[in-house]
Amino acid sequence: MSRLNEESLRIANEIIDRYPIKKSALIPLLHLAQEQEGWVSDGAMNHIAEILEITPAEVLGTCSFYEMFKRSPVGEYQLNICHGISCHLLGAENLLHHAEETLEIKEGETTEDGKFSLEGVECIAACTEAPCLQVNYRYQNKVTASYFNQLVQEIRDENRSEIPKHGSLAKVRQSIPNERLAGIEPVEHAQQPEWLNRNGKNS
């Protein structure tokens, strides 16, 4: 039931400052919480409510709408097997069954050692690479049964260091140098931007 730690809080404040209205930072902050713990705990949600000055119910309301947010612990590696139409046509179901047998869990479950969670997911936009899957949102294309086994083994052997633990999304964050910031117009009583009347020649 932990709150955002100091580092997450620092990033959170940077993110909040980019929006005219604080609540817009809610989804990015939920991602931060998930990055910190691998899932989104009630403690983290309550903390986010405090930070954004909204109710915990509002945070839960948003959090529970989006599939990527896990409100209970999941495996370190989330295996999302695409079962969209293009993958379906090229054997997604077989791949999912194979994964269930290999990992000895059903879709929606986590292995006993807490290493893998398995899900069948909707189209992940790699349709020409069917059947495909994502491990912690990293693509694996044209996945065969033997490649799946190899992937699982490599992760178990800690040979896939390019794939971060569940919760981390992009390894690169946006960072805006203060002196380069254009700044935020107030939502109410803003003025027309001055450049709109320029003639283009006087620059």
């Binding site: 991602h31 293009s86 690169v172 939502v187």
Partner: protein, 449 residues
């Protein structure tokens, strides 16, 4: 700019994918070397109104799904209401669709340049770039590109030394197809559940993000803007057909020999070219016959062999009873189990229904369950009529273009695969049902109705 091997074969210039074969085009130096940020520099020597005019002349149709002319959408902004926002729709998740992700990964600066020019032309004071949550690599590429462009003075305060100032903020989604609908996208960006807003009367251009005028454009749409400014709207409108100008990116997937993502001339290329052509899909696998194909993403009614010569032209495809939608062609060969394919697409809409409107929330669930029981061997004699009846409740008359009892088109989209599949392959559904173990409804058998 040196033309690639692929480009030499083309009878039209590549507009959005010209840098896809350059390994490091996502790095700012390489982008600038390949004419990058030239359009922005040029735009800043023009008045904002002149830039807007060029895009209008181009007749650029929105590339997200609805195909609304971008220049016209831009014109809907009310006068003298400030601030105004640009929201970039990068929540690509229509099954079969696969272009915005590649544009984000391979040419992020092109998109950024398109956003900057759009903000300049329309007086938009902030831009939010909404990228689908599952696209971790795309987010990295775009974050890196934004950081580079800020450092180099292309984004932020006093861009290229002028009084033009705008921030571009990268925002992540978290897994919800419906957020690709523009008002749901705005809700999500405000930190809410991604449920569409009722429209009309108010469209985002007048009341959008934070209740302020907002332009929502798709990634591919905005990626066209630099070319239009650099070469002129008129030059752009000479490519393609009269009403569908420029080029479009199509993803061809399913049972073809060479699945891929291809930029083609809009309006003149046909489905046959894309599916069978040597430069594109290279025909159906194993020499099989075609059973059906989806012409524009999972929401689109299916086409069949007789539609192969329809050109990829918005109005022609609309008249033929479907849509180009998000540029996703999914090919099914003769080995396809049509009932299972139909169930697959319907299950998608059932899972992704946001739950706001009853006909969609309940209806798509019913449709999915009825199809599931047919597949499981428990289909009932009247199940096809029941399916069509539920469809009719979501989309009265099951017509094209669809009528809807819902706020957004997600519900009616679940009707497309069912009406297409039953119309053409009713016998396959009946075959499942005739082998069913329960001929009469279970409810009646059990005495409960």
């Amino acid at each position: 700019m040196v033309k690639s091997e692929r480009e030499k074969l083309m009878t039209f210039p590549l507009i959005t994918t010209s840098r896809w074969e350059i390994e490091d085009a996502h790095i700012i130096d390489r982008y600038v070397e390949t004419e990058g940020y030239k359009a922005l520099t040029k735009a800043l020597t023009m008045t904002p109104a002149e830039v807007h005019e060029e895009v209008k002349k181009a007749s650029l149709l929105g590339r997200g799904g609805a195909g609304f002319p971008a220049g016209v959408k831009w014109g809907f902004l009310p006068e003298n209401v400030w601030p105004r926002y640009l929201v970039v729709n990068g929540d690509e998740s229509e099954p079969g669709t696969y272009k915005d992700r590649i544009l984000l990964e391979r040419d992020p600066h092109q998109l950024i340049e398109g956003c900057l020019i759009t903000c300049y032309a329309l007086g938009l004071s902030q831009c939010f770039l909404y990228v689908r949550g599952e696209m971790a690599h795309g987010q990295e590429r775009i974050a890196n590109a934004l950081n580079e462009a800020y450092e180099a003075g292309y984004i932020g305060k006093n861009i290229l030394g002028t009084e033009f100032s705008v921030d571009i903020i990268l925002h992540w989604g978290a897994g919800a197809y419906i957020v690709g609908e523009e008002t749901a996208l705005i809700e999500s960006l405000e930190g809410n559940r991604g449920m569409p807003r009722l429209k009309p009367p108010f469209f985002p251009a007048s009341i959008g993000l934070y209740g302020k005028p907002t332009i929502v454009n798709n990634v591919e749409t905005l990626s066209n803007v630099p070319w239009i400014v650099l070469h002129g709207g008129e030059e752009f409108s000479k490519i393609g057909s009269e009403q569908s100008t420029g080029t479009r990116i199509f993803a061809v997937s399913g049972h073809v020999n060479n699945p891929g993502v291809f930029e083609v001339e809009f309006g003149t290329t046909t489905f046959r070219d894309l599916i069978m052509g040597d430069n594109y899909g290279q025909g159906i696998r194993n020499g099989n016959k075609m059973k059906a194909f989806i012409p524009g993403g999972a929401s689109a009614p299916w086409f069949f062999e007789e539609h192969l010569d329809v050109p990829l032209e918005k109005s022609t495809v609309d008249q033929a009873g479907s849509m180009l939608g998000s540029g996703a062609i999914v090919v099914m060969d003769e080995t396809t189990d049509i009932v299972r394919a139909c169930h697959n697409v319907v299950r998608f809409f059932s899972r992704e229904s946001c739950g706001k409107c009853a006909p969609c929330r309940e209806g798509t669930n019913w449709l999915e369950k009825i199809l599931q029981r047919i597949i499981d061997g428990n289909g009932r004699d009247d199940d096809l009529e029941l399916l069509l009846d539920v469809c009719d409740n979501i989309s009265p008359g099951i017509t094209w273009p669809p009528k809807q009892t819902t706020i957004c088109p997600l519900g009616p989209s679940a009707v497309s695969p069912i009406s297409s599949a039953i119309k053409r392959y009713r016998n396959e559904f009946e075959a499942y049902i005739s082998q069913s173990s329960t001929g009469t409804p279970v409810g009646i058998q059990g005495g409960i109705l």
